[in-house]
Amino acid sequence: MNIVVCAKQVVDVGEIKVNPSTNKPVLEGIPKKISDIDKNAVEEAIRIKEKLGGKITVMTVGPPDAKDKMKELLAMGADEAVLIPRPQGADYHIVSKLLSKGIKKLGDVDLVLCGEASIDMFSGQVGPRIAGFLDWPQLTYSFKVEAEAGKVKACRNMGDRMVVTEASCPAVLTVTKEINEPRLPSLMQILGSARKPIHDWTVSELGMDGETARVLERDLRGVKMERKNIVFKDDLDEAVAQLAERLAKEGLLG
């Protein structure tokens, strides 16, 4: 079973600060990583490959420095990777279409796996958009997946209900964080990943030159969280008494 996993390099949102003079989130100089849930998608792909064989290709739309992070996914067990440059101002329309065309170019793909959403923007658009472009079935929010030759079945968390859906391949799956625990690669695997190829594909060769974004970002405002940050420690009796006193003063008891 040949699997494509779409993975995104994101800024570590836990490290973002808001610049008080511009009131904008500072995004430069923040550590980057592969979006957490995309690693769950890679892990699930590896488990399917272990059962059914095949090849795993990681596909990313992103900047050149994403290659370093993509190597982590190769070390986990993906076979090869494809990096497609992200055009300036690209929206979900452009990114998903680049990935869809990449999947077509790769050919002979049985499953596409994505995280339910990336942890920076959390829109969850890419998986269903790829399924729509390719007119493939989509099995979103999957927390348990059973794949067999030519077929896939998933238990899906749809909020108030659990839905079990099955489809013939090719199909697109999006997975939640609960589906598995992504493996940590061994030193040997990390060293071995250096030999695995990361192909550079261009926007032109995917026929997407001049494609215009459908959504434009007008502004990005920072949201400051202003909290009192009063911390009591050491003497717990004193700490608890202080806290209860404060809560009473805030009018929160009663």
């Binding site: 989130p25 399924a131 659990m162 974004a213 009063i230 608890v240 809560l247």
Partner: protein, 331 residues
């Protein structure tokens, strides 16, 4: 700009098309749709699908729709592939400027699929939508609550998904009239099939409405220990328990209706007490709008203290019983 779409506006007199899998969210969308359409002097069209579509159509008209397209699909359960096919037909015929879809999980998998079929833009989870000259602007929370992006469509139609309670529904107007149009839309052959649907375990808790929430995380060693926060919640006259992702999703000590966070529930109580929660950004994103935030954690470096008004560094197994006693004396 896609070739076959006009640069601005729509061809007919329908400005907004509304679809929601849940009626309650549908009413909220209609209220916003009404406001946008009135600004342009145009109409609101809602789409209802399924067996009870006829009665729902009347309710939608009383809540602000001018026209309701009813399609009695044979679809037994919501299926994003079928619904996106139906909406694709409607949008291509009516050519609205905007399509509003409820940001339920169904809506969140439907909207981008529909968007790709229409080559359209889609803005997810917008909690503000307004007209600005020729443009429609939408705002949404990004970077786990650290930013608000203001976005604009570069082409039409534009699809927007809207979370629950972002807008208040209009009151029922029994005298309001509108047109109900029955449409037979032939569905393509199903691509995936639903083999089972089960209700998620729910304890009937509504954390989104709660005024006081006592919340638990991985600092608790076993499910039985949650009695501690039950007791704490009880003495504060706030009976609502919340939790972080692992408690609901991995350990399943509490049902998912307790789950506070980016992919759980967004809460804004007057008081939020986080016990044994480290304060990962995804959790904070779900509770950052709370009035007063209290953190109890044995790790002085836990990020939860950065998001808290008051904190106690200490073992929750010691702190909570003492806090229960202290609060009991104040009540």
């Amino acid at each position: 700009m896609p070739r076959d779409w006009p640069k601005r506006a729509f061809w007919g007199d329908i400005m907004v098309v509304v679809y929601s899998d849940l009626k309650r969210n549908g009413f909220e969308l209609l209220s916003k749709a009404r406001e946008l359409a009135d600004k342009r002097g145009n109409k609101v069209c809602a789409v209802v699908i399924g067996k009870d579509a006829g009665t729902q159509a009347q309710e939608y008209i009383q809540r602000g729709a001018d026209m309701v397209i009813v399609t009695g699909s044979s679809m037994e359960h919501f299926n994003a592939e079928d619904v996106s096919d139906i909406l694709e037909v409607v949008v291509k015929e009516e050519r609205p400027e905007i399509v509003l879809i409820a940001s339920t999980k169904d809506g969140k998998e439907l909207a981008p699929r529909l968007a790709s079929k229409l080559d359209a833009g889609c803005i997810s989870d917008a909690n503000k939508i307004y007209v600005d000259g020729d443009s429609i602007l939408a705002e949404r929370v990004v970077y786990s609550g650290n930013g608000i992006a203001v976005e604009q469509f570069g082409s039409f139609p534009g699809i927007i998904t809207v979370p629950g309670k972002a807008f208040d529904p209009l009151p029922i107007d029994p005298g309001r009239t509108g047109e109900v149009v029955n449409r037979d839309i032939v569905l393509k052959q199903q691509r995936s099939s639903i083999v089972d649907v089960q209700k998620m375990v729910s304890e009937g808790v509504n954390v989104e409405e709660a005024e006081k929430i006592v919340s638990c995380g991985r600092g608790f060693k076993k499910s039985d220990d949650l009695k501690l926060i039950e007791e704490l919640a009880r003495v504060m006259n706030g009976n609502t328990l919340g939790c972080s992702r692992p408690i609901a999703a991995d350990l399943k000590w509490l049902s998912e209706d307790h789950w506070v966070g980016l992919s759980g529930h967004k809460v804004k109580p007057k008081l939020y007490i986080a016990c044994g929660i480290s304060g990962q950004i995804q959790h904070v994103a779900g509770m950052r709008d709370s009035g007063i935030i209290v953190a109890i954690n044995k790790d002085a470096d836990a990020p939860i203290f950065n998001s808290a008004d008051y904190g106690i560094v200490g073992d929750l197994y010691q702190v909570i019983p003492k806090l229960i006693e202290a609060i009991r004396q104040k009540m």
